[in-house]
Amino acid sequence: MANMSPTKLPMPEQNPSVRNHNFQEVALGYTPEMAVEEAGRCLQCRKPLCVSGCPVNVHIPEFIAKVAEGDFQAAYAVIYQTNGLPAVSGRVCPQESQCEALCVRGKKGEPVAIGRLERFVADWYRENVAEKPEKPASNGVKVAVVGSGPAGLTCASDLGKLGYEVTIFEAFHTPGGVLVYGIPQFRLPKEIVLREVEGILDLGAQLSLNTVVGKTITIDELFDMGFRAVFVGSGAGLPMFMGIPGETLSGVYSANEFLTRVNLMKAYLDDYDTPIQKSRAVAVVGGGNVAMDAARCAKRLGAEHVYVVYRRGEAEMPARAEEIHHAKEEGIEFHLLNNPTKILSDGHGAVAGMECIRMELGEPDESGRRRPVEVPGSEFVLEVDTVIMSLGTTPNPLIRSTTPGLETNRKGCLIVQEDTMETTRKGVYAGGDAVTGAATVILAMGAGKKAAAAIHQALAD
């Protein structure tokens, strides 16, 4: 008999007023007892809808059944069949709009806490199982993966399991891509990302750090070196700015720069050399998950006031509800229906404030969201010394500009065939933000997975 509790078992978290002063993980995870209890809520549907909502097709009821039995190792084996990065996706997937959105338990009450269970299983495995998965026999076929973010790692993992000789090329000095430079430690500890990467290297993959494909080495050269296929998961690119006066003042960051300083370069730790502005009041412009990450980092670095300035309302914010909730708990102040008009200088080239104008919602626009319209004469100044622009990115130009035959759309995103992820250049596949523009970790993982399958099919022929 299933556990008929209408609500998810809550996951313990650090107290908001404590955690907004540290970078340790916010969510503490289920205990084994909690996991077994929550797993009991799964009805084990014969035609599980949840699986169809998962971009990497995790066999959800199967793994949850193993958790309910207390056989966590078997549960891990089920997840790992289709998901090379479960500790990551268990933490950062928007389950509420994917698997959990389709769970039948969600029709009356809350869905099964699939994400929390996945996270539990991955953490339990990492902490309790020392043995490494058996290294598959090499098939001698070389495949290059460009970028070690979620798309590249997933592609490398799937191809590695099939025996391909995969080399991952990474521009930075550390693997992980956005999982390392973008998503903060308190949402996704870097030690966990590193372990997931090690798991992929254990399958036989090679990692070439400090290698900028498109600069250090070109895709044509990779083919000359004997790679039979190339997967491009080079991720997001140039940060967008608003084009308002004052954006080049010192104290104005892109979210990419701010987060990279904090997360990758560890500016929050005293013994690291990378500097970051000591801010008293910070305005983060934007309403996505990245904006929430930047705001919560700024708070942890000691800012007295951190404002999120967003031109639409809360219902229109693209950030996950959970992230908005966490940010509010931690004391982030939301200035919704406000749009920046200019950033003010202190007279010496630094930020002294940000002028905003109030907005109201008009008719729906092409995105289906109500269009924000300025309220004339409603300008006011927000007193801040730091502004973080979190408005999204446009894809990185380095690879497309150095690879003949690689076509992009109007926005500069690589064009791929939807079913294979193959680009307009034969043998070159792509996925993740390089194709979609800024999107989620799990969609990038799904793309890496699809490309791996297509590469396998093309090379097996």
Binding site: L209, G349, P397
Partner: protein
Amino acid sequence: MAKIITKRRLNPTVTLMEVSAPLIAKKALPGQFIILRVDEKGERIPLTIADYDREKGTITIIFQKVGLTTELLDSLEEGDDILDFVGPLGRPTELEGVQKVAVVGGGVGCAIAYPQAKYLHEHGVAVDVIAGFRSKDIVILEEEFQAACDHFYLTTDDGSYGEKGLVTDKLKALIEAGNQYDAVIAIGPIIMMKFVCKTTEPYRIKTLVSLNPIMIDGTGMCGGCRVSVGGEVKFACVDGPDFDGHQVDFDELMTRNGAYKERETQVRRDHACRLLNQEVR
């Protein structure tokens, strides 16, 4: 990892290092840069490539000790490894069809002016070099420059060597004397580049400057290196580092580059201990 093959002090604060980096050496062109990190907790800093040797597979960097990272870098010796060394980044200098150029270098900027002069000279362009220094004791690359140009002019602010005066005085004099330059390349302190551009503007001589703003990744991701060029925001790492000097907002660049000065001063005060600790290790 990139091994330091040779290390040479050019003056008390400026050091040259030839570093083994075959992949980068294979591709490097004048105007491009590398990013390096000295140790696990260090920051990433960009340095323009001062020279490259495709056969030996080496990249030469020349840097001045201006902050913690360059101090740490300077503490490395021949045979030591630089932890991370990435490149070649940025776009190579684009100077097609020029017949005669003036290359203007200021201080340590001469380290980057030198490969430009050498490359153009090797490719049949008439090259005049004006190298400016504060005083005689910090003059670098004098012999190298002489071999890489048609006319070499050296100025010092205090007159202790070469001609007394600023590079802009010399440049103006040369232009006034009837030298027809198709382009001027200016590399040095921001303030010098600004005034070289002011000097050439009335004569409508195309003037290229090589910018070295604050950067992290160097591949177009962080946006820290943005500069206003002709009223548009450009990223020095992917759009530059060379720009049309008449379009660059130098004053803004100066404040942005000073963003972490206060902290840098404090860190330098503390760092003596760190260097000491390293020696003990």
